[in-house]
């Protein structure tokens, strides 16, 4: 190279290129570059029968605080608890399967004699209590009654009683010649579930939410018009902390749809309404928290106004983020993230299935518009997830603003094969494997989803089947 200018230019270019490479390596090395999660089906629990018995339909899914246990409730009043197997060294790919740990009948159908109506035994919500000792505790509720269950293991049995023989029959005193100390012998693991408290007769309307306070002593239960505060140890009394029942029921225009305690502040809780409002209440302010401390409401978009505006704005689920700073709400077509510090509008809005906006009349006719979808945060509050129709569920990454639609179905998921993103086409260019809006199966709805508190493991309830998906690439979240 004769010309010094060319030389300098070349050196400059090479230098830039090297810088670029170094930066890339730094990113990868420090782990700030996160790959997209690759979800694959880990397991399915449930029957493959075509005839789905109504009692088997899963109505709630909940991980406990460590993620070791996963509880599901169904319409038949049963609760099934899954426990994660510890990872074995032999199969590092198989990251801890969830096996059935215990099954029990939580609620039975009842009859309300005053109104001549049945009380469904369907489990509306399950909430785990933080663990303090070897036993696990969970609250399960149907429309009217909340029950506290103790789940404990027994793997030892005392043997060698003095007064009783092996079958438990009393021994004749004359046969007892010496004293022996009973010894604990190991037996096969037994999981015992027993009801420790029954909180009944406190709700005139249907209980839709329960939430355990961070003080681990109290919890609240919310029905359509009232929220009650309980002490976990006291069953015959509860305090009413919210009451929106009007004096004249004719004037009733709004109901409570969901409620949750703040994860850290034991005095704060939030409840959502059928009109799309969120109210944050502080229990220190007064005994009856009818006056909210903050009200979160997004003004209606006049361009999107329709007959169904109110119905689709009804919030079906509300969840605090793990940090306690944000709220995630789900209404019929969108999922919104709110900052507790800003009341006038959500900070993020995610369209879950906006293609249904033109179908609202049909959906109103067949009642699908009243479906209550739940939503979930991941452990780091960076991704939110919610369900949709056709056994689709959606995940939205709050940082990258990318979203994905996945399907929970036996046919399209082979174990350990990465799930293929699905797409609903709305007229416009149609790609292969797209599904058109009219082909969606509205009977296959994913209402209940749960995300492991620490790892990228999700539990999806699709009618009577429980799907568990795991992230192949990132088993731990960054």
């Amino acid at each position: 190279m004769n010309d010094p200018n060319i030389t300098r230019t070349v050196y400059f270019i090479v230098y830039q290129f090297l810088l670029f490479l170094i930066l890339c390596f730094i990113n990868v090395g420090f782990g700030t570059y996160k790959e997209e999660a690759q979800w694959c089906l880990a397991q399915i629990n449930g029957t493959t029968e075509l005839e789905v018995s109504e009692a088997d339909i899963i109505s709630t899914v909940e991980f406990n605080q460590t993620g070791e246990l996963l509880a599901t409730g169904d319409k038949g009043g049963r609760v099934v608890i899954f426990q994660r197997e510890p990872e074995s060294k032999n199969e590092p790919h198989c990251q801890g399967e969830y096996n059935v740990y215990s099954t029990f009948q939580s609620h039975e159908p009842e009859f309300d004699y005053l109104k001549s109506l049945e009380i469904e035994e369907k489990i509306n919500k399950i909430r785990w209590l933080p663990q303090h000792n070897a036993a696990h505790f969970l609250l399960s509720t149907n429309d009217k009654t909340i029950k506290l269950w103790k789940v404990s293991e027994r793997d030892k049995r005392p043997e060698g009683y003095n007064l009783k023989d092996e079958e438990g029959r009393l021994k004749g005193l004359s046969t007892v010649t010496s004293l022996q100390v009973p010894v604990l012998m190991p037996v096969d693991l037994m999981v015992e579930v027993s009801p420790r408290r029954i909180f009944a007769n406190a709700h005139t309307y249907h209980v839709n939410s329960i939430s355990v306070n961070s003080d681990c002593e109290t919890y609240m239960s919310a029905d359509d018009l009232r929220i009650n505060l309980w002490h976990l140890g006291i069953t015959d009394r509860s305090f009413n902390i919210v009451d929106i029942k009007p004096a004249n029921m004719e004037e009733l225009t709004e109901v409570i749809t969901a409620a949750e305690f703040h994860p850290d502040h034991c005095n704060l809780f939030v409840y959502s309404s059928s009109k799309g409002t969120l109210r944050l209440c502080d229990m220190r302010a007064s005994a009856l928290c009818d006056q909210h401390s903050k009200m979160f409401e997004e003004p209606e978009d006049p361009s999107n106004r329709s007959f169904f505006s109110e119905i689709i704005s009804s919030i079906s689920d509300v969840k605090f983020s793990h940090s306690g700073r944000y709220l995630l709400t789900r209404d019929y077509l969108t999922a919104n993230v709110w900052d507790l510090n800003m009341e006038n509008k959500p900070i993020e809005t995610y369209q879950v299935h906006d293609y249904l906006r033109s179908k609202l009349c049909s959906l109103y006719e067949n009642d699908c518009i009243f479906d209550k979808f739940e939503c979930a945060w991941n452990g780091t509050d960076s991704v939110i997830m919610t369900g949709a129709y056709n056994n689709f569920f959606r995940m939205f990454d709050r940082n990258t603003k990318r979203d994905v639609t996945l399907e929970a179905s036996r046919e399209s998921s082979k174990p350990r094969a990465v799930l293929k993103p699905r797409r609903v086409c709305t007229g416009g260019k149609r790609r292969k494997d797209d599904i058109s809006v009219d082909s969606l199966d509205f009977t296959k709805k994913i209402l209940h989803t749960a995300w492991h508190p620490a790892e990228n493991i999700i539990a999806i309830a699709a009618t009577n089947n429980l799907y568990i998906f795991q992230d192949k690439v990132n088993s731990e979240m960054h």
Partner: protein, 343 residues
């Protein structure tokens, strides 16, 4: 639901509907808006009153449906008070019995021109077939769903109080639905011109009659009964007297008779009210002598259309002066009660 492979037709389908709506005359969006409003209204009513579950129906659902009905009622009230020129483009009825009140023909009155089947009130056609297939209404999304004119649209009803009728006519305490249903029945008789009967038009805002049937009504709709059902007033009589059918605008005062919030008890804790009123409500709302035109209806009414017509016709042969209506209502109510109790 169309299969995966059959989506080529989607655009044509949409075009067809849009064309239908567009050539509806007057304001296309207004017409379809009214149409959808009516459909939604009927769906809501049916949802509220056809629920026969063993368990208590969801309060949230009932409240939302009720709010929907109230909103529609408010809108209709507003429209009534504004006397909108929505329907100005529609042909005035040939026989304006009441110049103060104009009623636009339902789009589906054209269907009434078809040979009417005998009253089949006792048929048990499933409810769904009685509705305008909502899917047909909603492909033209924006024009259907959004209000055509902001002025006429009620702002989101903020009423916290019950929608009480201003001067409650006597016996309205029994059932507002009674009077409203009565009004419906009155409308059957072409000569009736009582102001109160205009109330019924709250349930059946009419479309401009001269709409060419081919445009607005597709083959599908013709075969589906619903249109009659939710108009409530497309009757055999109307087919005879289509030209002479009274036309009324929704009168705000007449709406006083018409309480959509109906059964006072359905939202209370006591199911007693439900039990007390539900049957009566259902029978009144489901009583549609006019659905006979295509012979299907949604519910079995204890009373046939003929009976009621007979009992009421003597009262409706002459125009009713304004101070008579209450007495007339009374007598009619008596008759209806007799008939109902008797059956």
């Amino acid at each position: 639901m169309l299969g995966k492979g059959a989506k080529r037709k989607l655009d044509e389908h949409e075009d067809g509907l849009e064309g239908k709506a567009a050539s509806a005359g007057g304001g296309p969006s207004k017409v379809s808006y009214t149409l959808q409003r009516q459909t939604v209204f009927n769906i809501s009513l049916m949802k509220l009153y056809n629920h026969r579950a063993l368990t208590e129906p969801s309060l949230q659902k009932r409240v939302l449906i009720n709010n929907m009905l109230r909103r529609i009622q408010e809108e209709l009230k507003q429209e009534g008070s504004l006397r909108p020129m929505f329907f100005a483009t529609s042909q005035p009825q040939d026989d304006p019995l009441d110049e103060g009140y104009r009623e636009v023909q339902p789009a589906f009155s054209i269907l009434s021109a078809q040979p009417a089947h005998p009253s089949a009130l006792t048929s048990t056609t499933p409810l769904e077939s009685c509705l305008t297939p909502a899917s047909l209404l909603e492909d033209d999304a924006t024009s259907f769903c959004t209000s055509p004119t902001p002025t006429s649209l009620t702002p989101h009803p903020q009423h916290d109080g019950p929608t009480k009728p201003p001067p409650p006519p006597p016996l309205v305490a029994i059932k507002d639905s009674f009077s409203s249903a009565l009004d419906e029945i009155e409308e059957l008789c072409p000569t009736s011109t009582s102001h109160e009967t205009a109330a019924v038009t709250a349930t059946a805002p009419r479309m401009p009659p001269p709409l060419p049937p081919s445009v607005l009504i597709s083959k599908d709709l013709e075969t589906k009964v619903c249109s009659q059902k939710f108009e409530g007033l497309v009757t055999q009589q109307e087919s005879k007297t289509s030209a002479a059918t009274e036309s009324r605008l929704i009168d705000s005062t007449s709406l006083s008779n018409f309480e959509i919030t109906t059964s006072s008890g359905f939202l209370t804790d006591l199911a007693l009210d439900d039990i007390l009123f539900a049957d009566i409500d259902t029978s009144m709302y489901d009583f549609d002598p006019c659905t006979t035109t295509t012979g299907t209806t949604s519910k079995i009414a204890p009373v046939t259309a003929d009976d009621l017509l007979k009992t009421l016709s003597p009262y409706n042969n002459q125009p009713v002066p304004p101070n008579q209506p209450f007495k007339m209502d009374l007598a009619e109510l008596d008759h209806i009660m007799e008939v109902l109790v008797g059956s």
